[in-house]
Amino acid sequence: MFRTYQRRRLKRSREDRLSDLSDDLLRRILSELPTEDLIATSLLSRRWRNLWLSVPALDLDSNNFEDVDVLFEFINTFLKSNEERDIKRFKLIYDVEAYEHFHSDFVRRIDDVVKRRVRDLTILNRVNGEEALVRLPLSLYSCGTLVNLTLYNAVFDHPEEELVVSLPRLKTMHLEAVKFDGTEILKRLISSCSVLEDLVIVTHPGDYLGVVSVCSQSLKCFKLESLRETFEDPEVDPKVEIDLPSLEYLSVRDYRSKSFSIHNISPTAKINMDVVFDVEDDADDPLERIRISKFLSGISTVREMIISPRTLKAIKVFSQFEPLPQFLNLTRLDASFVGSTLELLPTFLGCCPNLQSLLMIRLIFSMFM
């Protein structure tokens, strides 16, 4: 819509207003471009010829390069061409064949980027993890300038005991299919981020993640999702331990694990839970009952809650053997009590003395099916 409007207007104005802007403003505009488009600007006019080299951002897709060597050579040239400048943003889609990946070359380039005081780092690794592991430089553990980190299918090596793990500026961290070479690393990483606000963790098969231990004074929003297949094995996802006194929003999707403990959560938190338990209608499984009990007491202090149908079903089965906790702070609930869980509704409402709003949109639709 915007573009057609521009074409109509073009006929009236013949001024090159873009060139009226300062170099700094032009660089700012250019830093929003994928590197492909950025380089195209070198052909616009004399003024633009080398402007792209001083843009503090790289947005690369390895598929656009003949081979890995050309890719790394390009990164090298770019970094060399502006020695003093910070690289504010670096995004790399690394889609090469396993046999083309050489750890030392890769890690050296990423290390170069980290050392240029990178602020936003995104690495999407598409190399098949079963054929080659793409490991990150250790300098990433102590990048003092990093604010946003997004990683897909990369490996955090085990840091030596002496290595300082500290990401003092990191505000958002998005980890999907990320492997940690050690069970305590994720916990240590999160604890070292004193201003972390947003965390997303997505588990994948083969990520060797044993425990998701999230303890943070600053974290406001935590999203946890599982992409591990749920075949017969009911204990498929990592154990979860949550201690988040400043949490405002928690979302858990498609998650099935042996243990889900919420030790501490802000009473004003809003939660959206889709936790899968292994329950059968009316059957009593004492172990699973303990798990559900632990889970329920952890969420009993929240103010707003969305519960998925299958989590609700597990609560219903639990309620047949044990009383539900009181949800004293709960003012808003979004849960579809459909079919067999409809029986749970009165019991559940009885535990929510301060409930003000109950949303059951799906219930209405199912009545007409």
Binding site: Y5, D16, R17, L18, S19, L25, L30, A40, L44, S45
Partner: protein, 160 residues
């Protein structure tokens, strides 16, 4: 609602605009002027016309209203709504206004507006060949054909 201070912003062509403190202070430049006590309630903006200032204020008003939704934490629904409003805002302005807005947002130091408008120009450039970009933005090609050959050779792998 608490009574908040009113600022009067004066454009280069003499138009005046009354805005609430919260709206005006989205501009870091104005915020610093106020902190340093160099202005009274009337703030002259000699390099921004009334037409552009109207748009700036429109943006700032919308963005203040959303931040003050009660708890200061933006639900994903509100974020989405704001994003849609921003897209609509951009689509209703012509090229000339867009560039003037960039300069105004830069001078007034309103980060979000500057990001939005710069993104708007970047979106115009994305996916286009140099010839198409030049046509769209009226950039004069002052290269000789030898220059062009040289540049294409330097970055040959990009120019497919």
């Amino acid at each position: 609602m608490s009574t908040s201070k009113i600022f009067v912003l004066k454009s280069s062509d003499g138009e005046t605009f009354e805005v609430e403190e919260a709206v005006a202070l989205q501009s870091q430049t104005i915020a610093h002027m106020v902190e340093d006590n160099c202005v009274g309630n009337e703030i002259p903006l000699a390099n921004i016309t009334g037409e552009i200032l109207t748009k700036v204020i429109e943006y700032c008003k919308k963005h203040v209203a959303v931040v003050h939704d009660g708890e200061g934490n933006l639900s994903s629904f509100l974020k989405e709504e704001l994003k849609n409003w921003d897209t609509e805002f951009l689509s209703n302005i012509d090229q000339s206004t867009l560039f003037h807005l960039i300069m105004a947002a830069n001078f007034l130091n309103i980060k979000d507006l500057l990001d939005l408008t710069c993104q708007g120009v970047a979106d115009m450039i994305k996916g286009k060949s140099p010839e198409e970009i030049r046509a769209l933005l009226n950039i004069e090609n002052d290269f000789t054909s030898e220059d062009e050959e040289e540049i294409r050779a330097e970055n040959q792998w990009t120019f497919k």
